[in-house]
């Protein structure tokens, strides 16, 4: 049984401008111990998906349907008290900006201890002792002294380490990392990615890493889900997404990166146009208006399914046949989205 299994998740926000269909029929699963990367640009629904699993998008203006089963129990149907026992305990989460994610008025140690005492019946001094161990484990130097610092006295990297320590305080089975390195400098980012990999190997938890950065995905994920405008457009194991991508949007993402590992092209292959509004999304395939290869059938929504023979785990949402995809996606000896002729 999967650790987490999301089925046909739909999230709609009611706003003054209309109903935003932020997550549109998203289904995926995470196995124990694996790392699933969810990649997409801002507004693609990747963060909303992860927050909804944690029950953090619930409000009067939000419609949520579908299910998210964690070890067989549907998180979306749980009462507040039951959900609370899961989050921070069996599923933990870290966020993009560690400074604003920590309360500025409380010492780091207090915020850590709070995470422990919420789910465990331990004394204050035990919680503090455990907090110091956790800080040490995530590589904060002099943890017994730094525990009495306020978040603003930590550097950006140290704050994210503290957030990770907090998330790990109850040995979660699943860690959701929502853009965990986006706000950090590259050398700090490398430290945090290293740390997450090390901790995952030690503790054996599953990780769901949500990011816009394909480089981070390449370094961390086992399997990848690519999202565009609220929908999953492609899903598969890491290598297949990078070396045999099936959806034109994935080609576009891979191609438009200025890459250090390749000779530089004269011109970056770019994706024309803008992502659609999720209030009035285009009919059929959401990528159709920007796709140079769109044809008549694209006004129908392509189902997310396996289309390559003998690759049941590689799913995509594109009507093009597998052979023509392999021709169309090659640009300058790499993978990219060909610019429209003329």
């Amino acid at each position: 049984m999967s650790l987490l299994s999301v089925e046909d998740l739909n999230v709609r926000f009611h706003t003054e401008d209309g109903v935003v269909h932020a997550v549109d029929g998203v289904s995926f699963s995470i196995e124990p111990g694996e790392t699933l990367g969810i990649v997409g640009e801002s507004g693609c629904g990747k963060s909303v998906t992860s927050m909804t699993i944690m029950g953090l998008t619930q409000s009067d203006n939000t419609d949520i349907s579908g299910s998210a089963s964690f070890e067989g129990a549907n998180l979306l149907a749980m009462g507040n008290d039951d959900l609370r026992k899961v989050r921070g305990n069996e599923i933990a989460m870290i966020f993009q900006d560690p400074l604003s994610s920590l309360h500025p008025f409380y010492k780091v140690g207090k915020q850590l201890s709070e995470a422990i005492t919420t789910h465990r019946d331990v004394s204050k001094s035990e919680a503090r002792k455990h907090s110091i161990e956790l800080l040490g484990m995530v590589g904060v130097p002099e943890p017994s002294r730094r525990i009495d610092d306020y978040p603003h006295e930590f550097s950006g990297g140290m704050r994210q380490r503290a957030m990770i320590a907090m998330a790990l305080s109850n040995d979660p089975k699943l860690l959701i990392a929502d853009e965990p390195t986006t706000a950090l400098d590259v050398t700090t980012q490398a430290q945090i990615i290293d740390l997450l990999a090390k901790l995952q190997a030690e503790l054996g938890m599953a990780v769901m890493i949500v990011t816009h950065d394909l480089g981070v995905i390449a370094e961390t994920a086992d399997r990848v889900v690519v999202m565009y405008a609220g929908r999953i457009v492609e899903e598969g194991v890491l290598d297949e997404i990078f070396y045999d991508p099936q959806h034109p949007y994935t080609w576009g993402l891979l191609g438009s990166l200025p890459r250090l590992d390749r000779p530089r092209p004269e011109r970056l292959p770019q994706i024309a146009g803008l992502p659609p509004s999720l209030i009035n999304a285009p009919q059929g395939c959401h990528f159709r208006p920007r796709c140079p290869h769109a044809f008549g059938r694209c006004v129908e929504i392509p189902p997310l399914k396996a289309r390559i023979p003998d690759r049941p785990d590689h799913l995509d949402r594109c009507w093009l046949d597998v052979e023509s995809k392999r021709e169309l996606r090659v640009v300058d000896e790499g993978i990219g989205l060909r610019e429209p002729a003329g």
């Binding site: 640009e41 950006g156 480089g215 890459r259 992502p275």
Partner: protein, 362 residues
């Protein structure tokens, strides 16, 4: 021919003041510390470094938006550091800035037409009755349309706002554009559009760019030459492709190694060089070579003598006592370059125990 921009020994220190009743200076943030470089017309200089390395301050100091503590900035041979405000105002026509957050830098109460047209009116570069036509042409040129003339910035997406910012910067037909993280806030697909646009415009208008970014991939793509900054100093300056294939300074090596490669196999193959710890405070930077506290090759000399910027062949310049990817022959020919800081020595000190020149790494 005089270079378009010549920066010499530029220093910007921000005093930190404190006191019970009357503030006095207790320390200085050494944001930019003795930086020199030259840019030719039509060239792009990339500036990279992590937050707090002084790259943004350097840009603003060059444009005299912040008054430099000392040093010289010559634009087409004319000194602009300490230039009187009136003369500076007309010089500004020649040098414009593009910012990271296009929304924060556009007046939300003004229409696009006013935002882009105002500089033309203020500087009188375009006849009043021609302003609208010029603005519309410019909007068209940056990939917007003439219909956007009467819209407000909030009606646009991030990428489109950056196009407005670019149109405004171009309104006065400047020679130099300083772009401070112009694509950092944008999504990958939009980022490529803006980078391509900036390159097209450079060719069309013969623009010179100073391009600041923390994303080394983006910087390599657009730059001819790249300067790497660490704690207010330029530690390496090399041709764009060379910087990536044969980085000299250990910090450049670490920076390149830290960037995740969007290629799972290559990413798994390489042995990453993870830097320990955080960037030290620019208030009390480490002595001599500022990188010595985090450098795995550091020896005693690194904390005693500041390494001068020296040439290490292949047009590479770096400030390091233990340069990487440098052959024995290149090392023996190394010479201190004129851009070297005054506080650094005048000779390329031979390493105490001549470290075997490291082989270029993948």
């Amino acid at each position: 021919m005089t270079p378009l921009l010549e920066v010499r020994n530029l220093v910007k220190h921000f005093p930190i003041k404190s006191g019970i009743l009357v503030d006095r200076e207790v320390a200085r943030v050494q944001a930019v510390d003795d930086v020199s470089f030259t840019i030719e017309q039509g060239e792009t200089l990339g500036l990279v470094g992590e937050s707090g390395c002084g790259k943004s301050t350097l840009c603003r100091t060059i444009l005299q938006l912040i008054e430099p503590t000392s040093g010289s900035v010559r634009f087409e041979g004319e000194e602009i550091a300490g230039l009187d405000p009136k003369r500076m105002r007309s010089m500004r026509r020649e040098m414009q800035m593009i910012f990271q957050d296009p929304y924060a830098s556009l007046n939300p109460r003004r229409r696009v037409g006013q935002i882009v047209g105002q500089p033309m009116v203020l500087h009188g570069t375009v006849e009043r009755r021609d302003v609208r036509r010029s603005v519309e042409e410019l909007l068209d040129r940056v990939g917007l349309s003439a219909e956007h003339y009467n819209r407000f910035p909030h009606e646009f997406s991030g990428g489109q706002r950056q196009r407005i910012g670019i149109a405004r910067a171009l309104a006065l037909r400047p020679k130099l554009i300083v772009a401070d993280e112009p694509v950092s806030a944008l999504d990958v697909s939009i980022q490529a559009q803006i980078i391509n646009l900036l390159e097209d415009l450079q060719e069309e208008f013969n623009l010179t760019y100073i391009f600041v970014a923390h994303d080394l991939g983006v910087v390599r793509h657009v730059s001819d030459r790249i300067a790497v900054m660490y704690l207010g100093k330029v530690v390496e300056s090399s041709p764009a492709d060379r910087l990536y294939s044969d980085p000299v300074h250990p910090y450049t090596n670490a920076l390149l190694s830290a960037i995740p490669i969007p290629d799972p196999r290559r990413s798994a193959e390489r042995a990453p060089l993870v830097l320990e710890g955080d960037v030290p405070s620019p208030i009390n930077p480490p002595s001599a070579c500022r990188f010595h506290t985090r450098c795995q090759w550091a020896t005693e000399i690194c904390s005693a003598n500041e390494p001068p910027l020296a040439s290490y062949g292949l047009d590479r310049v770096a400030a390091c006592h233990h340069p990487r990817n440098v052959s024995a022959a290149q090392l023996s020919r190394a010479e201190v370059v004129p851009e070297s800081p005054e506080s650094a020595g005048n000779s390329v000190a031979a390493p105490a125990a001549p470290a075997a020149p490291s082989t270029p790494s993948a």
